[in-house]
Symmetry: C2
Subunit: 165 residues, 2 copies
């Protein structure tokens, strides 16, 4: 529980540092995202409500959006999935998504520290000033691979569980 308290204090300090008021809603959302990385807004709402039952969905959307703008949270949108959130920010790590079960794994930067930040522009393209390079690896995780080999049944057994690391 000391850990929980420490976390609260750390989040509170970060909020103040960004000129934001420290509210129980923000703390509950931050704690929920921290405990359930790669979760969508709906799961975050459910998780946060265990400690703050009166929290509303709209507040979660507002808080997630604001904290993402502040870079206290990071948001990414895997294909065919609602947006997912995590507290791991600042490093430019990437994500691998299983196209069969939706599982998400963190992947560290492939090439040194700031890797993919230098796109190779086509001759006729007007280069942009790049700020982020999000790499989304898509593949099949070990469990799904095994599951596909054993039962020679429907090859489209794509389950819908997404989020919840």
């Amino acid at each position: 529980m000391t850990e929980h308290f420490d976390g609260q204090e750390a989040w509170a300090a970060a909020l103040r540092a960004h000129g934001r008021r420290v509210t129980k809603q923000r703390l509950a959302v931050l704690a929920a995202v921290d405990r359930h990385p790669h979760s969508p807004a709906e799961s975050i709402l459910a998780a946060a409500r265990t400690e703050l039952p009166e929290l509303t969905a709209q507040s979660v959307y507002v808080v997630l959006g604001d904290l993402t703008d502040l870079h206290m949270l990071r948001r990414f949108e895997p294909p065919h999935s609602p947006a997912l959130y995590e507290t791991r920010v600042g490093d430019n790590h990437h994500h691998a998504i299983c196209i069969s079960c939706g599982r998400v794994e963190d992947v560290d930067c492939a090439v040194g520290h700031a890797p993919c930040l230098t796109p190779h522009w086509n001759p006729d393209a007007k280069p942009m000033t790049i700020q982020i390079a999000d790499v989304m690896y898509q593949g099949i995780c070990q469990d799904c691979q095994r599951a596909q080999q054993l039962p020679p049944q429907s090859s489209l057994t794509r389950n819908k569980e997404i989020g919840e690391q």
Copy 2:
């Protein structure tokens, strides 16, 4: 117009090769995506209707989904944008998106031929079998940069035009 005909024939052949029937709806969608790369379903519908006015939105969604599964089209979802489609498939090129105006540019592979296909897994992660690595560069394009410097007004002039290369 010969070019148009050739395109039709090529698409028709590809459809047959995939065991699909050749319909005017599919040809209209393919032609529309080809002429307007990086476009959302709604724009594709509008473009395709210039040559096939009775085409419906649902057909466009069905066709886009099916052709994407066949890898005749490629689909990607920039943050805060509906899914975009393009006919350039087979090479693993990537995309740069202007976070101000939504413009999308193609970017060739950064490191040789199949670059980012080798993620650096964390020690405790169960590696997946990677099939695609989608890199999404996000930055500010030259036009928007210029526009932001001249008028010292709202810094949040994010316009909504997306797609339509």
